[in-house]
Each structure stands twice: as structure tokens, then as C-alpha cells.
């Protein structure tokens, strides 16, 4: 790996890990969603995220130059080698929890990919230009549900408030940048996450306003460490997700 690639590789892996882990969580709703339409919707969203992860992993494998494929990176790394945020690995919880997480994540990722599409790294820019179009309807889908749930029955409202309360502290990690990523931001390869906060705030405030929900008063900061490989729920998820590939290494289908 060249010096430049050594910095970009972990960053690209982190982008892939967020997408893969949330994509796998969403896929766990398949056949379990409240309606058939929603079952199809969540499976479609999962497919988008897993598709994005595949592109990031394929790029990471090329940058690393050691012949690792997207499958090697998805199925043959242990939890400590994953650098996804803690929010995306949280178990799905109820439907409100899943939808609030989708909103918090997509409201960040949509403008993030918009910014990444102007990256000086052409491989990253072209993935982001593709993925940003998908994240646009991820935001819309989550927003419509959070409004419906927040402005719905006492039960749905209560569950949505609880989900917002649980997930709010995890948002902080979405905006974190380590020294290596700050270096990439200075080189106009990675967006500066903090600069996207006003856009994220505007989307969240607009949706919560429509939903008749109060924005939590405390700042959106809390559990962290996922980027450094310190995970809570990931190992259990990977044990299931990776079991088939590890039982049959090299299998093709």
C-alpha cells in the first residue's frame, strides 16, 4: 500500500462497515415487518445499503492491493476489525426504534454522500454520486414513518419518543473524525462531518416538528468507540451474518 492509500483504506472500510451493518440489521426485518409493503420497503433499503457496502469494500480491496475481495472484507473480519458506529449495530428493537434510527442515519448520510461526491478521490466520488440518490428516498421513507408514528396513537407516539431518547446519544459518533480522517478532509478527499451538522439539524427539526415530537434537550453525544473497533452488539450479529461464508469458505452461488 502506498502512503496515501494507507490513510484512505481505513476510511473507506468505515464507510462500508456502516452501510453493511445497518443493511444487515434492516434485512433482519424481512418477513417480520408490520405490513407486506413495509416488508418490501425494508428489504429494498437493506439491498441499497448492502450494495453501497459492496462498492466501498471493493474499492478498499483495490486500495489495499492484497487481493482481498468484498466478501473477504464482509465475512472474514472479526468484530474488532469493524469500524462502524455503535448506532447501526444496535439490535432493531421495535418498529419505531428502527425508523428513528433510519431517520437519524439517513439525515446524516444523504448530505454526507452529497459532499463526498465532490471528493478529490474519483473512486469515492463515483460511489457517493450513486449512493446519494438512494439515500434521498431513505430519508423520505424514514421521515414519513416518524411523522406517522409520532403523530399517531398514544402507543406509537410513546414508542417513538422512547426510541428517540435511546438513540439520540448515539448520533455523536456520526460526526466524529479521528486524526487520519481530519487529514483526509484537509486533502479534500473526505467531507468535514461537522460542517454537515446544520443540514442534519434542519432535517431532524423539520421532521420532529411535523411529527409533533420535541427535540431531545441534551446534546446528541454519548457512547462511542465503534470507529476504533470497540463494539457492543456487533460480534453477536456477525456470528450469524458470517456463519455461512465461514462454514463454506470460497463457496460460490
Amino acid at each position: 500500500m502506498t502512503e496515501a492509500h494507507r490513510h484512505i483504506f481505513p476510511y473507506v472500510i468505515a464507510l462500508g462497515d456502516d452501510a453493511l451493518v445497518l443493511g444487515h440489521r434492516l434485512s433482519q426485518w424481512s418477513s417480520r415487518a408490520p405490513t407486506l409493503e413495509e416488508d418490501i420497503a425494508l428489504s429494498n433499503l437493506a439491498l441499497d445499503l448492502i450494495g453501497q457496502a459492496r462498492l466501498f469494500y471493493t474499492l478498499a480491496g483495490k486500495l489495499e492491493g492484497e487481493g482481498r475481495s468484498e466478501d473477504d472484507l464482509a465475512y472474514f473480519r472479526d468484530a474488532a476489525a469493524f469500524s462502524n458506529t455503535l448506532m447501526v449495530e444496535l439490535p432493531n428493537g421495535d418498529f419505531a426504534h428502527t425508523m428513528v434510527r433510519q431517520l437519524l442515519y439517513a439525515a446524516f448520510t444523504h448530505p454526507y454522500f452529497e459532499a463526498l461526491a465532490t471528493s478529490r478521490h474519483p473512486g469515492l466520488a463515483e460511489i457517493a454520486a450513486k449512493a446519494v440518490k438512494e439515500m434521498a428516498y431513505h430519508v423520505r421513507h424514514a421521515a414519513e414513518w416518524v411523522i406517522r408514528l409520532g403523530d399517531g396513537t398514544d402507543e406509537s407516539r410513546q414508542r417513538t419518543v422512547a426510541a428517540l431518547d435511546t438513540l439520540w446519544p448515539y448520533v455523536g459518533e456520526l460526526f466524529e473524525m479521528d486524526a487520519a480522517e481530519q487529514e483526509l478532509a484537509r486533502a479534500s478527499i473526505a467531507p468535514d462531518r461537522e460542517q454537515l451538522r446544520p443540514i442534519w439539524n434542519a432535517t431532524i427539526d423539520r421532521v420532529l416538528g411535523e411529527a409533533g415530537l420535541d427535540r431531545p434537550e441534551r446534546p446528541p453525544t454519548g457512547p462511542t468507540g465503534g470507529r476504533a473497533g470497540k463494539h457492543v452488539h456487533l460480534a453477536e450479529m456477525l456470528a450469524d451474518m458470517q456463519s455461512f461464508a465461514r462454514a463454506h469458505p470460497g463457496a460460490a452461488w
Binding site: I50, G51, R54, L55, K130, K133, Y137, V139, A143, T203
Partner: protein, 173 residues
Amino acid sequence: MSATRETDGLCTGDADIARARAVAAAVPDPEIPVVTLADLGILRGVERRDGAIFVTLTPTYTGCPATLAIKLDVEAALLEAGFADAKVEIILSPAWSTDDITDEGRRKLREYGIAPPPPRATGGGELFSAPNVACPRCGSSDTTRISEFGSTPCKALWRCESCSEPFDVFKCL
């Protein structure tokens, strides 16, 4: 290297590029076989590299499961047409948009019962927006979106309030 092929009459000259393009362009989409790859606007280029035909395709959605099937279909069609050395590569840039679907493709979709995608300018990423879509069966614009997600990643599920029929809409990307 190309001398042998010239005597075979295969994979040489611009006429072959045009023929390879016609073959690749006519491959049907595996999920919506009424439209071809050219109709969808996902056939990006046909050229010659190192003597062989080189085709570039672009995926519709990042996670579209049909992408690999489409690549294999194009390879098979080119092989059958005599382009034994043809290579097919998937490229991402510039990102595909539903605006790339040709007028011919839109007509075929409509006749097949799938409302063609609205122009991006009217149905893009705006929060809380839903485009106006005409029913592909009766033409009424009194339609309702049931779900933004349908039987494939590229389709949404709608219902016509005039003729009461549900229908697919090729969603705007």
C-alpha cells in the same frame, strides 16, 4: 495479433463495433424483459481495447441484484454473435439516472403496464414530495402512491383511483 482475426472477419474494423453495439443494445433487462439495455440507458460504451470488443455497463441501483445477470447476459449474447474475446465491465460514473431511459423505453414500459419514471426535476430528493403519475392503463392522473417500494428496487407501487387498478411505477432516481 489482429491479422488472424481479420482473415476470420471477426472482431475487426468499425463495422464490428457497430454490430457488437447492436447485439449488446438488444439484450433485454432480466427483470423487465420488455425493455432492452439500450432503452434503459445502461449501455455506456462499446469500443475496442487490445483488439477485443470492450463493453461498459452501469448499474441502476447499487444493490440491484440484476447487475451480475445483465453482465452475464451481455457476455453470452456477444459470444453467440461471434465476439469470443469480448469483455464486459461495470462502471459507476457518471451515475445512472432514470432520465437516461429513452423515449422508446418509456413507451414500452407504459404499454407493459409500468408507468415510466417522472423527470428528475419533478420527483427527486425533496422531503415530503410525491410526483404526479398517470395510470398506465386508463391514463387518469387521479392516482395514489401505496408504497415507494415495489417488487424490484426500481419500482414503486401505486393505485389508480379512476380504474381502481394497482400498478407499478418506475421510480425516479
